[in-house]
């Protein structure tokens, strides 16, 4: 469903239309905010990355980048009965390489978790739930490329007709810690409630710092696949986030500039619960 956006990324950019560097412009109206990216997976501890938004246009180096990480906030997560204060640690698996992490509360399906952040006198609050996870029925690859040297991932699952479901699909290869969303990453079952759906998955770019992207896997490569159930607020955030990341540079679409944050207070971002299944499979068509 969201594939359209993804594909639009590739359209018209710098191809048919020429690209040219423009002199930088500055614009007023900047307001400092806390940027939150937090998650709690079923069976895992809560994680939160805190940064600031910054008005930058030119190049930034590592020293400047480290300045916008918020390392000394009070971050707590509650499951309604138990509250835990997360601790900040350096972790080079993430960028920026600092993360707040819990060690007591583990995510359980159906439970609601409240995140509270206190920083420089401000309080930010958000809640999320972990929806029941849904397993994939099957995963397979189909040969692609001029010499069939590549493989495209396909997954199949059946939606529960009695449940409202939102899904998100990720892949990763090699030793990277974080999963990367596929191009067709977010799904809303309102279009296929109770039915069996096959997704032809295009591998997504790791981030929007590069437009280089191969939608296929190398033949024989080991691929990790994560299939997550996400709550409504997670679907709304990630869909609008994807719109912005993929389409704001596309003149056919443009930016709506409306990322649906679920953080209350002087902040933006996402606090989201995930119910996931992970699979390891060799890319052999």
């Amino acid at each position: 469903m969201r594939k359209l956006e993804a594909i639009f990324l590739l359209l018209f950019l710098c191809g048919f239309f020429g690209c040219k560097k423009e002199p930088s412009t500055t614009s007023g109206g900047y307001k400092p905010k806390v940027v939150v990216e937090g998650w709690i997976e079923q069976g895992d501890y809560p994680y939160v990355i805190l940064t600031r938004n910054i008005p930058f246009f030119s190049a930034m180096d590592s020293a400047q980048l480290s300045n916008f990480v918020i390392r000394h906030a009070k971050v707590s997560v509650s499951d309604g009965t138990q509250t835990e204060i997360l601790t900040s640690k350096r972790d080079t698996n993430y960028f920026p390489p600092y993360i707040y992490r819990g060690s007591e509360i583990r995510g359980e399906a159906g439970k609601t978790y409240t995140l509270q952040i206190e920083f420089e006198g401000k309080v930010l609050v958000s809640t999320t739930t972990i929806p029941p996870r849904v397993a994939l029925d099957s995963l397979w690859f189909i040969a692609k490329g001029d010499n069939n040297e590549k493989a495209q991932l396909f997954v199949k699952f059946r939606d529960n007709p009695n449940q409202k479901n939102y899904y998100k699909l990720y892949t990763k290869t090699g030793s990277t810690k974080r999963y990367t969303p596929t191009l067709l990453s977010n799904q809303d079952d309102k279009y296929f409630n109770g039915k069996e759906l096959i997704i032809q998955a295009n591998r997504g770019p790791v981030n929007n710092l590069t437009i280089k992207n191969d939608p296929y896997f190398a033949k024989g490569e080991t691929v990790m696949v994560k299939f997550s159930s996400i709550p409504k607020e997670g679907y709304e955030f990630w869909s609008s986030f994807q719109d912005e990341i993929l389409n704001s540079s596309n003149p056919l679409i443009g930016s709506t500039g409306r990322i649906k944050s679920n953080i209350r207070g002087a902040g933006i971002g996402i606090w989201c619960g995930y119910g996931s299944f992970q699979y390891q499979i060799k890319a052999l068509p």
Binding site: M1, F16, G18, G28, I54, F56, N208, N247, S249
Partner: protein, 811 residues
Amino acid sequence: MIIFTVYTGGIILHFYTSTVLYSIIGILFRGRWLKSFFVLSLVLLVQRVYCQERYILEGYLYDAVSQQSVPDAAVKVNDAAKSTSDEKGYFSLKLPAGEYILSVTHLAYDTLHYKIRIEGNKLLRLELSKKSAVMSEVTVSAKAGNSNTLAPSPQTLTKKDIEKMPAFLGQRDPLKALQALPGSGKGGDGNAGLYVRGGTSGQNLTVFNDAVIYNPSHLLGFFSIFNSSSVSEIKMYKSAIPAEYGGRLSSIIEVNSSKKVVDSVSAEGDVSILAASVNVEVPITSNWSVSSSVRKTFMNYTVWPQLSGLGLSARTFNNIRYDFFDLNLNSNLRIGKSNYLYFSAYNGGDDFGFNARINVNNTMDWQNTASSLTWKSLIGDNVMVNTTASYSGYHFNFGLQQDNFLAGISSDIKDYNLKSIASVYLNKHYLKAGIQYTDHKFRPNTPYITSFGLAYEFGTPNTYYTDEAAVFISDEFQISDRTGIYAGARLTRYRHKGPYTLVNEDKTENSFGSGSVISSFNFIEPSFTLRQSLTNSSSLKLSYSRNVQPLHLISVTAVNFPADFWMPSLSSVPVETGNQISAGYFKNFGRKYESYIDVYYKNMQGLVEFSGGIMNLIDNLKIENNLLFGSGEAYGIEFFIKKKTGKLTGWVGYTLAKSSRNFDDINNGREFPAKYDRRHDLSVVSSYSLNRGWSFSGSFTYATGSAYTSPISRYLISGNVVNEYGDFNGSRMPAYHRMDLSATYKFRPKKRYRTELSFSVYNIYNRQNPIYLYFQAEGNLKEQRIAVSSKSVAILPVLPSINYRLFLKQN
């Protein structure tokens, strides 16, 4: 009476005298000699006059502005009806030598009195001034203007003017020419939209032979759908919209094909690297002729393979396919002296496609269909009734496919329209009254997705049935030689009909069946103009109009691409309303120059912005629940001067203007500039005719950059650099400017044909005019470096082209 007739008539004179003779002979034979003597002497007098040598007075009548023939005009000599002009504006009379006052009257024109002395055969060329000169109207028509009339005809662009403008890729475009006039602001490259006097591109009503055209653009807006060879006239009303039109706030663009019944076969054709077009006119009988024109691009053979050859295929997409076509068919039939039947059909479409890198086939296609049947009936000397039945259709489709995954969105409009206007000419009044009924069916966003045979469920597509019933009346009244007024009003009843499901605020639903009325309202659109001649060459014009638009063009893309869709007013979607006042001073300097200064102010309510983007439409969301409403204000001053004669001709138009918007939910209710708010807008068009063969033309345009929303800060989420945006439309693109040049060589005309070759260069100094700006982050997170740069998308670099035209004529 009879004798008077004898004095001034032609063929009719013979009939009358004969009748008189027979009756007199009858009287004589009844023996009433004395009483009849006097009558007989009259007859002798008649015979004597009849025997005088008579000369042929013939002439052609032309519209003073458009220089088109004026048919159906009554030509009288010394106030007795004698002749009527034919389709070519031709009339002839036989007159004895002497001095006469020739009067030419026509419904639509000021009566012309012409003093003439007949001493031999004479051929006249007479120009009539339109009464509607009281209206503010731009006419683009078939022949050169040579106005020397008292009535101001301020904004005139002739087809010759268009021909003098450098053509874009060899294609002359009448609608694009309108953009070079003050006040009809341009959108920029790839944008066919007109932003008239600070309005939006959806506030213009474009009608082709009385059928509405919803998206008059081709090739992502580079061309209009109007093939210049099939168009004889374009009129644009940008203030005081006449009462026979309504439903739009900014302007009416009336495009007509030729209504002439031709008497000989003619053909015209041209070829460029982009397209070829042919226009043929054929007489079937002396009262019936048909014409057809075809324009077809062949870029899939000429342009795109070349681009692929340049290595573009290595980029993110390849195999571009893009072509468009236009098909026009017209039939003009004359029935007797005073009835005409015109049929017009248009079909045109664009077909665009390309393959993205990951084996995704993208398509975008759209089609306009318009057909109309008009019956024109002349009743007596001073009444004309025009009745038109028309159909308009618009279809847009955007789709993409990767193997067994297919997704897309389509949009459709169907209109049926019936309109009847009676025009009555009464001495100093020109009255118009009529009725109109339009039935609309809108289906703005119908999404579809099929994944491996599973069709996603989107439910019933959003469909809206509405209709409009209107009555209108207007009068153009010549109060004195120097003062004229126009007053008109249009009353419309608008209804939104079922089937429709209304979702109430408490989330309960009301279902309405087919034909039932969900909401309805009435509105009045008044229009008023006062024209005051100051001197023989200058005049002042004041106008006011209030318009109501029960239809919104909702922009879903960053640029004006055809995916923008039309949405009718519903109970939850109010109408757009606008008030405009303008004051203009018009002055001609001899026969060479005409000029004007026009000041306007307008306000608008009920303007809409869509709170999402095109991607949200694919969710089949209810559009009416995702609109933001606001108001707008625009004012400006327009300057125009045109040199009409001589080797060097052309015009300069400049507009100083401001257009702002106010939406409660945008920028926290603070005022912001409209996207195409152009503080300065300058157009210079000139043409130089060197000799019989060579002519050169050039144009230059400059406009303040359009407004856009720029990011003010950035943040990182999951390794992506995300923009945070500042004030809506808070930043400005670089100014738009461009120069085009062309040279045309006309080969010596042959007996049956003539040809010409033109070279033109678009954007000669290769200005990169951005249509879109965005900010791109690049870098490497592992190395902890990120750079953000602003990028612009410019689409039209310097573009040379060559074009060959051929004109054929029977005889």
